[in-house]
């Protein structure tokens, strides 16, 4: 039922994928419209916060502190979660995480699972692994349900179906839910999804969830959402399996005060999420509540079995990199995607990864330990809009440049590096800039070299309309003015030190 996942290992390079996306006029229109709407809402609710910049700083400090002591807080989380009756598992990589989850689902005795809030499961392509193991996953987040029914792929970390408009969603529901009469109003679509999902909620006994935050102090898992489907998944099934990256931990319960102000405003432009669920341990484990065993039975609420899979999947490598580390501070609000002029043109699929936009451009190659997705750090004009909007002040442009350096080092290593055209040009330019004499010679040479390419326009001005090789991208849509006859420094010399 679900489409092939977004796999950075096999995805085409960003420029190639982007070129293909540029032709999808409907998708680009949907993306721009949706991001405009969210951005506008975000701007409104952020502007009503007099202390927004202080909150951002607090958010950054909390996240930075957490990353500096991640081992400590993870162990604290494990101890407190276990005490509350949960079982904590550690997964080194995607493969191990998939194996653990599949084993836990099988142990629960179910061959179906309901799922919620699970970009992490997208990261590890859990759905196809579950299906291969004979387990059927049902997405219950409305947007992810649309993706699943449409055999599509998510294009945004908060609004996975952002690239679809309402009419397209109606068509998917009509087809997949067998509702030929379905209307196109938002209420009609919501009703259809509700009917479809309610049956799953009541029938399926095992749930897989992601997590927005893990709270070390209490051992609790926090999930925030707008539809309430997550709460259904957290409370109705008998077995709950939460899978989270190790970067999701927060030290104290009180830290939520900051995060739950930053996250919903940045993500969907809401003052607060309609549903904020914090799940700690299993039902009945809180023996200190003074109820007799029998009395508690009637109050049963939530799973009897609760597992948390803490997944590394290259996060410790990121942690070990001083400059890349701030990537882990991300709270997955998606604000950087909405504001990114590159994302707004291409949509999310061009990034070849579940993490798209600026955060994807820095997170994905690092999650791949710089073995794949090397074109992503270049998928940015470094305009800085992402940094400006990030609620935890991740300096995304700085990390992009840092990763570009890693890519260059990889590309120029060894013998192959000697034949890298770009590196050769860059090194030659650097050599030229290291001497004023060489620089002036290059300026003169440039004027001679460009001559065959220069054409005169009606005003008699010289313009270049075609450039060879690497520079050809420029002349695809732009002309280039001819070099002036005299450089500034030549003029300055001619003029004499004291003016003329």
């Amino acid at each position: 039922m679900s489409g092939a996942g977004l796999d950075p290992k096999t995805a085409p390079t960003f420029p190639m994928a982007a070129k293909a996306m540029m032709g999808d006029v409907q998708l680009r229109k949907n993306v721009r419209h949706a991001t405009d709407v969210i951005q506008e809402k975000r701007a409104r609710v952020v502007s009503e916060m007099p202390d927004w910049q202080e909150l951002r700083e607090a958010g950054k400090q909390i996240r930075r502190h957490t990353m500096e002591h991640l081992d400590f807080y993870l162990e604290e989380f494990e101890a407190n979660c276990t005490r509350a009756g949960g079982v904590v598992h550690w997964a080194r990589d995607a493969e191990e995480a998939r194996r653990i989850v599949i084993g836990l689902v099988k142990a629960s005795g179910s061959d179906e699972v309901i799922k919620i809030k699970s970009m992490t499961t997208e990261e590890i392509q859990l759905n196809s692994a579950l299906e291969a193991a004979g387990i059927h996953p049902y997405e219950t987040d409305l947007a992810e349900l649309i993706i699943q029914l449409g055999a599509d792929r998510p294009s945004h970390i908060v609004v996975p179906a952002l690239h679809k408009n309402r009419e397209q969603i109606r068509e998917i529901f009509q087809r997949e839910m067998n509702l030929p009469e379905l209307g196109g109003r938002p209420e009609d679509l919501a009703d259809a999804a509700r009917m479809f999902l309610r049956e799953k909620f009541l029938r399926v006994k095992t749930a897989v969830s992601g997590a927005n935050f893990l709270i070390a102090e209490t051992g609790g898992v926090c999930v925030v959402e707008s539809e309430g489907n997550g709460r259904m998944c957290l409370t109705l099934p008998e077995t709950l399996i939460t899978i989270a990256g190790i970067d999701k931990v927060l030290p104290r319960f009180q830290d939520l005060e900051v995060m739950l102000q930053l996250l919903p405003r940045s993500a969907t432009g809401e003052r607060m999420n309609p549903y904020n669920s914090i799940w700690t341990g299993v039902d009945g484990a809180s023996a200190g509540d003074g109820l007799r065993d029998g009395a508690r039975d009637g109050l049963r609420d939530g799973p009897r079995v609760f597992h948390v899979v803490l997944m590394d999947n290259a996060r410790t490598e990121i942690l070990a990199d001083d400059e890349g580390r701030q990537t882990l501070n991300c709270i997955r609000c998606g604000a950087c995607q909405n504001v990114c002029p590159v994302y707004r043109q291409t949509g999310g699929h061009a990034y070849g990864s579940v993490y798209a936009g600026p955060i994807g451009a820095i997170l994905t190659p690092q999650l791949q330990e710089m073995h794949h997705a090397q074109s992503l750090p270049y998928a940015s004009s470094l305009c800085g809009a992402c940094y400006e909007v990030c609620p935890v002040k991740i300096n995304i442009p700085e990390v992009l440049i840092h990763l570009r350096n890693k890519v260059v080092k990889q590309n120029t290593a060894g013998v192959a590096g000697l034949f890298d055209v770009e590196a050769g040009a860059m090194k030659a330019m650097a050599l030229i800039f290291r001497s004023e004499r060489r620089f002036r010679a290059a300026q003169r040479l440039g004027r001679i070299a460009e001559r065959p390419l220069v054409r005169r326009d009606a005003q008699g001005e010289g313009w270049i309309g075609w450039l060879p090789g690497l520079l050809g991208g420029w002349t695809q849509a732009r002309d280039l003015g001819e070099m002036p006859k005299e450089t500034f420094r030549d003029w300055w010399e001619r003029r004499g030190e004291n003016g003329n």
């Binding site: 043109q345 998928a379 004023e436 732009r478």
Partner: protein, 246 residues
């Protein structure tokens, strides 16, 4: 004041009129201008493309050329952003103690051109005359890294004869981004198309900015589309020479 000019490799080679205009404005305001001959490039292109090692010697070179300066004026917001955002940590990486100290002492004296006028000299009216319809594009580095705010706009508003029209999506990137325009030519072109549409909608004769890199990009498309609309660096408007409208 004795003002040292860093004209940047880009302006020196491709946009000498901008440098000349900076000289004209500063001298008209009564300052002494000097141009250290050994200057070349700030290293931005190398640094931002991932060739950090190649940018390092350019930092030392810049410091060597300008370390005695009273003020350094640069008619390029992205080059100033490069220096402010990256020079301190580059100096630390190089690890020469005196270089670190020199960078620390020098950076507060480095100003983008419009910033020098509004923030350092506290000016708005520099006595310019420019009788044309103009729109202003806020380059990303000026806007976000240097936080120029409405400084350039205030300078423009004080120009006599000018017909200043606001650009829709003023804060949107034009899609240049240095090597981005070449490496991701398709996306860059799409971003540029939005920008040139906005420029054309203003019916302005010229689009101005504090950075010739953006302007070269915008101009490239305006010329390709045979629009007749020009671009002109802010300094050339403030120099008040009608001939500056290329």
């Amino acid at each position: 004041m004795r003002v040292s000019l860093f004209i940047t490799c880009y302006n020196d080679t491709l946009f000498p009129e901008t440098g000349k205009a900076v000289v004209r404005v500063l001298e008209r305001l009564g300052h002494t201008v000097e141009f250290p001959q050994g200057q070349t490039c700030c290293g931005q292109m190398h640094y931002n493309t991932g060739y950090q090692a190649e940018a390092m010697p350019l930092l030392s070179r810049f410091v060597e050329q300008f370390k005695g300066a009273e003020a350094v004026v640069v008619p390029s917001s992205s080059c100033v952003a490069m220096m402010r955002d990256h020079y301190p940590k580059m100096a630390l990486a190089i690890g020469r103690v005196e270089l670190i100290a020199e960078v620390d002492a020098l950076l507060p004296k480095v100003f983008e051109f419009s910033e020098f006028l509004t923030k350092r000299l506290g000016l708005e009216d520099v006595g310019a005359y420019y009788p044309h319809r103009v729109t202003y594009h806020a380059s990303c580095h000026g806007l976000r890294n240097l936080v120029l705010g409405d400084g350039p706009m205030r300078l423009l508003k004080a120009v006599r004869g000018i017909d200043l029209v606001e650009l829709q999506g003023l804060e949107q990137c034009c899609g240049f981004g240095g090597t981005f325009a070449v490496k991701n030519a398709d996306v860059s072109s799409a971003m540029l198309a939005e920008k040139t549409t906005a420029v054309l909608n203003t019916k302005a004769e010229a689009c101005t900015a504090c950075d010739n890199s953006c302007l070269m990009h915008i101009q490239g498309a305006l010329h390709r589309q045979r629009t007749g609309v020009k671009t002109v660096h802010l300094a050339e408007i403030l120099a008040g020479d009608e001939g500056a409208l290329r």
